[in-house]
Amino acid sequence: MEIKKTSLNKLHQSNKAKFVEFAGYEMPIQYSKGIIEEHKFTRSNSGIFDVSHMGQLFIYGDETLTDELEKIFPLDLKNLKQNCSKYSFLMNEDAGIYDDLIITKIEEGYLIILNAACKDKDFEILSNLLGSKFKMNLDNNRSLIAIQGPKSVEILNSIINGVDQLNFMTGNWFNSDNQKLFVTRSGYTGEDGFEISISNDKAEKFVENLIKKGAQLIGLGARDTLRLEAGLCLYGHELDINKTPVEANLRWAISKSRLSNGGFIGSKKIMNQMQDGASQIRVGIKPEGRLIAREKTKIFNDSDKQIGEITSGTFGPSVNGPIAMGYVDKEFSKVDTKILLEVRGKKHPASVCALPFYKKNYVKGVN
């Protein structure tokens, strides 16, 4: 199958991107300055991320759409205000996660942002669940640009006036350069920032404009170190069809009002696990010294019994040390529990730690 390219591919090339294939797309892993510089620039200034490979699913319908979606997602969508967003999951009956996603209530419907590798299957699953009653559009004509970091609000507001008035996890339509953009105050780096849905033919010029104002392009490499420092899950690593939201320590994302009556896909398993606890749970892990423990590294207790596995591990540039996340048996999930990581045949000391590794800088209550 031919590799897919986003509308910013030429711009990546002219900015000397190193490319990798990711979910069938040719995506920039880094630019000439490298992952650590890009990571630090995002934390101190403003980084631009091409996330156009992600799915933008618009679903339109009458009030029955909210009822139907509540049968699928563990969210209180009836009480979700227009232009407000929630983090959620598409699950199977065993609460295994098909995908993690952001759903936003928009005028006459919902916008759901899906992972690139999952979006086509998600569309198929949701189409089967919802039938033909609602208009569903997995929109390939729109790009998705994230701008993240403390200077992002000033830079973006100078191009799209009014975005500074958005609260965290809310969005709205804005007019800029004779077109409608959907902007949300959100992201996946732990920094204040925005995600902008923009038509493909306008995306390159828009990003060039952001660069002129002082933001810089950042690749997927730094996106990964940023999200890991922020303690955020990545589908295919922390999350997959064999993990539930309770095991992933994401019970905060399940609306309390939905737990008493259930009625969403996977609710039985979720309610059981909420009561009895899951046998394994996702934790933060801090290796001692400089050792890096990558995905699939086995975790042991001090009597040589395997008690879990690392799902993501790297060097955290802002933490200035190695960081990891993984799953451990619940009796080892308490903060400060000493564990051992098997790397290249040797066991190395580490401890379970609180997440995030790097304090999140989301804005609260601007209006």
Partner: protein
């Protein structure tokens, strides 16, 4: 000191008396990206030509470091273990990895000179 020689695994080597100094090439560091971890062989241990003699890790992945010749490890560069970013800064100078007391200096003969290595690196990168 002898002329600098290079291996197909992107190590460089110089010889002074019977002691070889070994590191990784600038080309290797450019391929790896930001190096954040380095592990070196133990002093006093013996390493065999083309065998592993350390590890470097970038933000992206781990890679083995090989030794282009055999010998006993007589010194290692603790400075690059304490601050691995030095490897990106000066890979073919102060950021050497380890020194070996060579057993058989004829092992140097099969290695590439600078011109041959540059050509090899250029071809293997494309």
């Amino acid at each position: 000191m002898s002329e600098v020689k290079f291996s197909k695994e992107h190590e460089w080597i110089t010889l002074e008396g019977d002691v070889a100094t070994i590191g990784i090439t600038k080309h290797a560091t450019e391929m790896l990206g930001d190096i954040v971890f380095a592990e070196l062989p133990e002093k006093g241990s013996n390493v065999e030509k083309d065998g592993t003699a350390g590890v470097v890790e970038s933000t992206k992945a781990a890679s083995d470091v090989y030794t282009p010749v055999s010998g006993e490890v007589v010194d290692t560069n603790q400075a690059i273990v304490d601050d691995p970013s030095k490897i990106n800064e000066d890979p073919e100078g102060s950021a050497w990895f380890f020194k070996l007391k060579m057993k058989d200096q004829s092992e140097m003969d099969s290695l590439m000179n600078k011109e041959e290595y540059d050509k090899f690196a250029k071809e293997s990168a494309s």
